[in-house]
Symmetry: C2
Subunit: 194 residues, 2 copies
Amino acid sequence: MISQSKIQDKRKEIWDAALKLFVEYGFHGTPTSKIAAEAGVANGTLFHYYKTKEDLVIVLYNDIKNELNSYITSKVSCNESLETKVKIMFINSLYWALDNREKFYYIHQFHFSPHFAKISPETIHQQSTCHIRLIEEGIKAELLKPLPIEFLLTIVSSHVFGVYQYLTSEDFSESQQKKVINDAFGMLWDMIAP
Amino acid sequence: MISQSKIQDKRKEIWDAALKLFVEYGFHGTPTSKIAAEAGVANGTLFHYYKTKEDLVIVLYNDIKNELNSYITSKVSCNESLETKVKIMFINSLYWALDNREKFYYIHQFHFSPHFAKISPETIHQQSTCHIRLIEEGIKAELLKPLPIEFLLTIVSSHVFGVYQYLTSEDFSESQQKKVINDAFGMLWDMIAP
DNA sequence: TTTTAGATTGACTAATCACTCCACAAAGGT
DNA sequence: ACCTTTGTGGAGTGATTAGTCAATCTAAAA
């Protein structure tokens, strides 16, 4: 067991190093040699764990997306009202983003890169299943405006990102952060509730 | 006069080629040689007009930002109500984005690249002066929620981008587009009005 | 016509980078 | 003890690239 995780140590070291450097210098700005150096492994070792640089880029994206998704779904329980569920998901998305700035930034950096074209539409759709289900439910219960699901999803996602951008543009105290997030949810609800 | 513009022809050819290729293949994915080839000029000519590749990347960004800004400001006249002004700016931002998809995409691609760090904060601030003034005015007149200007600005910008994303994710007819944009403005107004 | 200044070219260079290769080490099963 | 599998290292390679430079062209001024 210990050896099992120790074997994967270097894989994780490379993963972490790549995230840090990609976010700081961009995909093109970080050579694989620098990633290996930052991870404390040899050049060749990187290619033992990741077939190509692009493979690493994509694995990073999928891992982060999955981590975010499972974090968010872990926070909502079924016996809440729909508004509460949406609120919990919204707030927790932001807290996760604030606690994992590199990872959250990476998602968007990836989104605006040619690598994103390599992600299949099914994967993309599957990665937002839980959000889609909630929106469907909300529309049926007439708690959300009767608009196309994809439309609402896009609007909510970009709102989350907007709030994140604002929260990271300046230094806020915890209580200021909390107020901004609450205001932002109020605005979101005003926007999507009928 | 004719020669004047003819001299700048190649500069513009390079500009256009760079935009097209950067959007398609990313900054790293497009070598300067390809840009020169696409523009129909020699390798060296590119560096006659733009000192470095990065210079070209940044000039492209600033030019596009200025174009977008002057387009939007050209559409609002002073003797409108504030809500109308906001609506006109919102709608025209989206129409411009839809008519200039490469340029609009480029702005965001640039935003999520390390090149963005090279833009001075003053320049960034100056590039959104007209939006800031409108929001200030709106808060004073109690037509907008009394929130920090930067917050409202960020929220509105990301809403615009969200709507743009939705509109370009599928093929919509003109009337469908118009409906989406109108709905989106209604939602925006619900969100930012007190 | 001659001069001059800028525009244009494309071969060239120095550097960089993704990735390979092969030798060796560690671990585990038999 | 022996073999097989898997991990690790790092020098090496071939391809690519941003940017240079000296030569040539163009056109208008003198």
